[in-house]
């Protein structure tokens, strides 16, 4: 049934936030009891084919999760030796979070011009960055900031110790065209 597959795609994409019955009903333009029964059908289907994932219901919210029997593999993956350096992408995101916190993923992506969810996930795994509540904006996006571990790893007493950003970020080559007042601004 097409709706079942569409539901699977939806629950996959929302990730750990899940969707509640009413939201699902609204997206498919069906009644909430129908939406709930659709979720149960998907759960059954995934059980039958012994998929790696399963439908989980928490209160009125539905989400996809990995099946507990595969936890050993996840553990192995999580513990596979972590690199002791950061990728350039991760460093860049960390720099933005450090200087502009609290900041949402969308704002980070606006600055970088590219998707940054993977780099951000790496930093959260490494406990250099953590959630700091939600922005007062549509969708209430998560705000990110640096952790105490971040300060420790970089040998800082506090965020005030972050070196101030250089006034003109290495674009001397084009500074001929900048007015002195403009330079002072950044």
């Amino acid at each position: 049934m097409e709706l079942l597959s569409a539901l699977e795609a939806l629950l996959f994409a929302v990730g750990s936030e899940g969707l509640d019955t009413k939201e699902i009903a609204a997206i498919f333009d069906i009644a909430p009891p129908e939406a709930a029964s659709l979720c149960l059908q998907l759960a059954e289907k995934l059980d039958e084919r012994s998929a790696g994932i399963a439908v989980q219901q928490v209160a009125d919210t539905w989400q996809l999760v990995t099946r507990p029997e595969y936890a050993p593999y996840l553990k192995r993956m999580a513990q596979s030796p972590m690199q002791s350096t950061l990728s350039n992408a991760a460093l860049e995101v960390l720099a933005i979070v450090a200087y502009k916190q609290p900041i949402t993923r969308g704002e980070i992506e606006d600055i970088r011009g590219v998707q940054s969810d993977r780099a951000l996930a790496t930093l959260v795994h490494r406990q250099l960055v953590e959630e700091k509540g939600r922005a007062d904006a549509p969708g209430r996006p998560i705000l990110f900031g640096t952790t105490v571990d971040f300060l420790r790893q970089f040998g800082l007493k506090s965020l005030q110790e972050l070196p101030p950003l250089p006034e003109n970020m290495g674009h001397d080559d084009i500074s001929l065209f900048q007015l002195p007042t403009e330079r002072a601004r950044d």
Binding site: G15, I111, D117, H125, M169, H171
Partner: protein, 239 residues
């Protein structure tokens, strides 16, 4: 107005030329250069009439077209024909074909991007519950790497977002004319090459040349050449 609002949509002179070739349904290997040149110039004039800024590349192409046209008009000597002299249109045709391929590839990429936009991923799951407490310390990553990362990010920003807009190389014939009027009136009589001594790029030279043609046309200046291949002299005709 036959040109509608499409005027500014052309990515460049090659794009405009391809459009004209398609519109006239002519053979790209045998471009009727007189017709296409005329229509090309009409477009430029229309752009002017609409006060659209004409990028210098369009003017360079105009000069190229006029030069091809004049070479096509020259009687071809038998010797030249026997020696298989190259069709003056050939380099332009090759450039047009290459650019057409580029446009094709761009449209393919655009399709692929829209197909990709139909596919969604999900944020990585937080695996920290599966992880041992000990996270290895960062090795060789210092505060200055962070600052450096920020600096590099800043360098990557398109210039347009970094500083106030700088429009390089956009010269309008009218603006150049104003300059030239000043100069020629001052000198009364000046050699063409002297006038453009300080010009550094081909584009500016072409823009300047077009400005001179325009001024000759409206009688502001006259042009004299005392002997074949001698220097061209521009003479102020106003008061």
């Amino acid at each position: 107005m036959p040109y509608e609002v499409k005027l500014a949509q052309f990515e460049g002179p090659l794009d405009l030329l391809l459009h004209l070739i398609r519109k006239n349904e002519v053979d790209i290997y045998d471009i009727p250069i007189a017709i296409i040149t005329e229509q090309y110039m009409d477009y430029l004039h229309a752009m002017e009439a609409w006060s659209l800024e004409i990028a210098s590349e369009f003017l360079v192409m105009a000069a190229t077209l006029l030069s091809i046209k004049s070479r096509m008009l020259l009687p071809r000597t038998r010797v030249a024909e026997e020696e298989g002299e190259e069709d003056p249109r050939l380099p332009l045709v090759e450039q047009l074909l290459e650019y057409e391929r580029c446009k094709w590839a761009a449209s393919q990429l655009s399709n692929m991007a829209s197909a990709r936009a139909e596919v969604y991923s999900r944020s990585p799951m937080d695996l920290s519950p599966y992880r041992n407490r000990d996270i290895p310390a960062l090795d060789g990553v210092t505060m200055w790497d962070l600052v450096d990362a920020y600096r590099k990010l800043y360098m990557r920003l398109p210039a347009a977002e970094r500083v106030a807009e700088i429009r390089g190389h956009v010269e309008r014939v009218e603006d150049v004319m104003v300059d030239l009027v000043d100069k020629i009136r001052r000198y009364r009589r000046i050699e063409f090459m002297m006038l453009f001594q300080s010009v550094r790029t081909r584009q500016s030279l072409v823009t300047g040349f077009l400005a001179v043609l325009e001024m000759i046309k409206d009688g502001t200046i006259a042009c004299e050449q005392s002997e074949p291949f001698g220097p061209l002299e521009l003479i102020w005709m106003g008061d």
